[in-house]
């Protein structure tokens, strides 16, 4: 499977490698290779950051961006290749080591302790002391200096939990300044900010830039890059693709580099065709402050996609339909019968299954066996009328799905934690197939699994649809939407902004609906 994969050649010809004397890099990573058990996470990746540069790092989910950042910041150690910081080869063994020399990362999920004050957070684990005690006055005064430099109206003595997310982010930046950061890595910094907050953030980034700080900027919002970014490095499937001056390229160029040209090879041919028969419908589904008036239908043989940005409400809608979260109103109809779903038990009994986006958190009992996980949602089928588990029946059922889904496991009693990501996902799928589910929600089913396993999951989705099972695919990867679905429901901030025929749409059009630029009611 893997050998047939057409690997697009990196367009190195266009790679900008000019090194003027005054813009010598502050940080270079060359030939970075990182293996995890069963997965090659990074394969010979390069990145070069100059002083006073904002350098965007782009790639789809799973492209290896965060693994690369974890190596640069000392959380992971690289297997091959080297990181050079200010002309010196470095092997950071911990985040603290990287921070000490001036490399700091601000994570998307901010790392602040809510019950401490701003100053206490900025100086956490390096509190200035006077004798045995913390020198609070000095700590707050010092913290205030950095906050004032950012021209933000935050008092160092404020508790962090009283601040908005945008202000908490400013605290993180102040913390980075206090660490004398010369390299600052920002992961999706704008994902939870309002327009005016983004403007302020960008001003601050410009100021940091003027001070000579090199900034690695990770964002999915490609339209923002134009405002601050100098160069862009694109990664795909754990490999380096290209580094370009932003001025020389368009957003479409970046998308093309991110997706690759071998898109069609990533997905199997669809063998199911949608019929006119409507098997599942949702109308007017709402949950206060989360999503509003959601409606869609699913036809036999169809794969329906849910697209949208992070936090658009796709997962929340699926969980509400499944009864895992509450809903305020709305109707759910399966095969013409209205359902009253109040808990996952009701949904499962009706034939609806939800494969959660985080397998380990919500999908699998990782310390239990393959067999126990497969039969977990349908114990009644393997117990006798006295409530005792029939071992033979249970093994037979588990064996059937291990075979059917080609789950690679040494035995049925293998603990699920020891399987690879792809095989774990198949175990979850096996669980729901054994339950005879009629509608399956797949929430990010291919996240964190390797290319070969992805292909097998895609084939399975197609087969399910062909067998008449309703398949709803929730994914943040637009190529998956384009490659696998028949229609796509696009979400934007808790609303459905468009329902599109996949064949007649494009990534760009979906993004326009997902970002709220286009709206079907307009």
């Amino acid at each position: 499977m893997l050998t047939n994969q057409v690997r697009p050649v990196p367009d190195t010809g266009a790679t900008v490698m000019t090194r003027a004397a005054d813009d010598r890099p502050i940080l270079t990573a060359t030939g970075i290779t990182k293996r995890f058990p069963g997965v090659l996470a990074l394969d010979n990746v390069h990145l070069e950051l100059r002083r006073g540069e904002v350098h965007a790092l782009c790639g789809e989910n799973g492209a290896g961006k965060s693994t690369l950042m974890k190596i640069i910041t000392g959380l992971y150690q690289t297997d091959e290749g080297e990181v050079v910081f200010k002309g010196e080869k470095r092997h950071f063994q911990s985040i603290q080591e990287a921070q000490a020399v001036g490399i700091t990362m601000i994570h998307q999920e901010l790392n602040l302790v809510p019950h401490l004050t701003v100053a206490e957070n900025i100086y956490l684990a390096r509190e200035p002391r006077k004798g045995l005690f913390i020198n609070n006055r000095k700590m707050e005064a010092d913290a205030q200096v950095y906050l004032d430099r950012l021209k933000v109206n935050i008092k160092a003595s404020d508790p962090v939990l009283s601040l908005t997310v945008a202000r908490q982010q400013m605290v993180e930046i102040a913390k980075a300044l206090s660490l004398n950061a010369e390299v600052l890595i920002m992961d999706e910094p704008t994902s939870s900010l309002t327009e005016s907050e983004i403007d302020r953030l960008f001003e601050i980034i410009q100021e940091l830039k003027a001070q000579g700080v090199g900034i690695i900027y990770i964002s999915h919002r490609l339209d923002e890059l134009r405002r601050i970014v100098d160069r862009v490095t694109v990664m795909r499937d754990g490999r380096y693709v290209s580094t370009r001056d932003l001025a020389a390229i368009t957003v479409d160029d970046i998308v093309a580099a991110m997706v690759g040209r071998a898109l069609e090879d990533k997905f199997p041919e669809r063998t199911s065709t949608p019929t006119a028969e409507e098997i599942f419908a949702v109308h007017g589904l709402s949950r206060d402050k989360v999503f509003e008036n959601i409606g869609f239908t699913l036809r036999r043989g169809e794969i329906l996609g849910f697209a949208g940005l992070m936090g658009a409400g796709r997962t929340e809608v699926a969980r509400a339909i499944f009864g895992a979260d509450p809903k305020t109103r709305g109707t759910v109809t399966l095969a013409g019968r209205a359902l009253d779903i109040r808990s996952p038990i009701d949904a499962i009994n009706a034939g609806i299954a939800y494969l959660s986006e985080d397998r380990k958190l919500n999908g699998l009992a990782v310390r239990m066996s393959v067999k126990d996980n497969i039969t977990m949602a349908n114990m009644a089928a393997v117990t006798d009328r006295f409530g005792f588990i029939n071992d033979a029946a249970e093994r037979k059922a588990a064996q059937r799905y291990v075979g059917l889904l080609n789950i690679k496991t040494p035995s049925l009693t293998q603990i699920v934690r020891n399987l690879s990501g792809g095989n774990q996902q198949k175990v979850v799928i096996g669980k729901w197939l054994f339950r005879d589910s009629r509608v399956l929600f797949f929430d990010e089913p291919t996240r964190g699994i390797d290319v070969g396993a992805k292909f097998a999951i895609y084939q399975l989705l197609d087969k399910l649809a062909r067998d008449g099972v309703g398949v709803i695919l929730i994914t943040s990867e637009l190529p998956e939407i384009l490659g696998m679905t028949d229609r796509v429901v696009v979400f934007h901030e808790g609303e459905v902004t468009g329902i599109l025929e996949t064949r007649q749409t494009s990534q760009e059009e979906i993004m326009q609906y997902a970002s709220g630029v286009k709206h079907m009611s307009c």
């Binding site: 069963g38 990782v366 977990m376 949602a377 040494p410």
Partner: protein, 339 residues
Amino acid sequence: MAITEIGVQDRKMNLDRKDLIQKFAALAGLVLLVIAFALTSTAFLTMSNGVTIALQTTSIAFLGFGATCVIITGGIDLSVGSVLALAGVVAGMVAKEGIPVPIAMAVGVIAGGVCGLINGLIITRMRLPPFIATLGMMMVARGVALQITGARPVSGLGESFGVLGNGSLLRVVEEGANGFPKVVFPGIPYPVIVMVVLAIVIAILLLKTTFGRHLYAIGSNEEAARLSGVNVARTKIGAYVLAGLLAGLCGCVLMSRLVTAQPNEGVAYELDAIASAVIGGTSLVGGVGTISGTVIGAFIIGILRNGLNMNGVSSFIQMITIGLVIIVTVWIDQMRNRK
């Protein structure tokens, strides 16, 4: 890909081996204890001492079985020591009213179950952490037991009240040459028989029934269990009710042995129960644990106490020893869970 699979298999065999080592470590520890005490004390390895050990271990085991079920769900039950006192006192007071002893004890056991039910409801409906809920119950149940008895033992319960705790099966007594009765075989005490039956029943419950499977599923990943359609609240309540019923039974047996209902009985017994489960390989994180392990754990504690006693070791040194055993066994368990 082939390499990956071999890797997985390798790791699997490794884990299994570690699992076995842990299991045998506890059992081997038990055997070593027996050998060591047999060498240091001639009275240790006798029939009557064996019966004594078994009898002393029963109360730890009853509570340990309940603790195992609760801890498998990722919970904890600190109230069983107090609940057993309340249950025993209730059984004693009911019996004192002239109600037949079996019915009185059944009422006591049910009182224990009600305490467990309340624990379960507080944990699932009020969503309090099990530690807090059962800490509260520990104080409430003890307080109720002291209040309803006026902090005085309930005595004069009649001989029949002592049968469960003091009677035994197949006891053989001969009249000796000097006219005094001579015990040929001390018999199997009823509490020991109850322990064996309970161990088998609860082991089957855990391994062979949907309820047992759901306990493990909840402890392994509560959200995954919920999303798989497991009735999490009901299953958890079931675990606490079971722990309560077993505490109630333990209380009846203990009070029966004394033929007096003592509201002060069972203080800190919950810690022995938790220790026996943990020594036997039950993980406080949840999802892991067996009854056979808990039986071994209970006997390790019972034999340590008995053997150290026979060697004239003070009860303070006994506490130190058992404390160290807990720390070392859990450390071994942690090593097993780390890769």
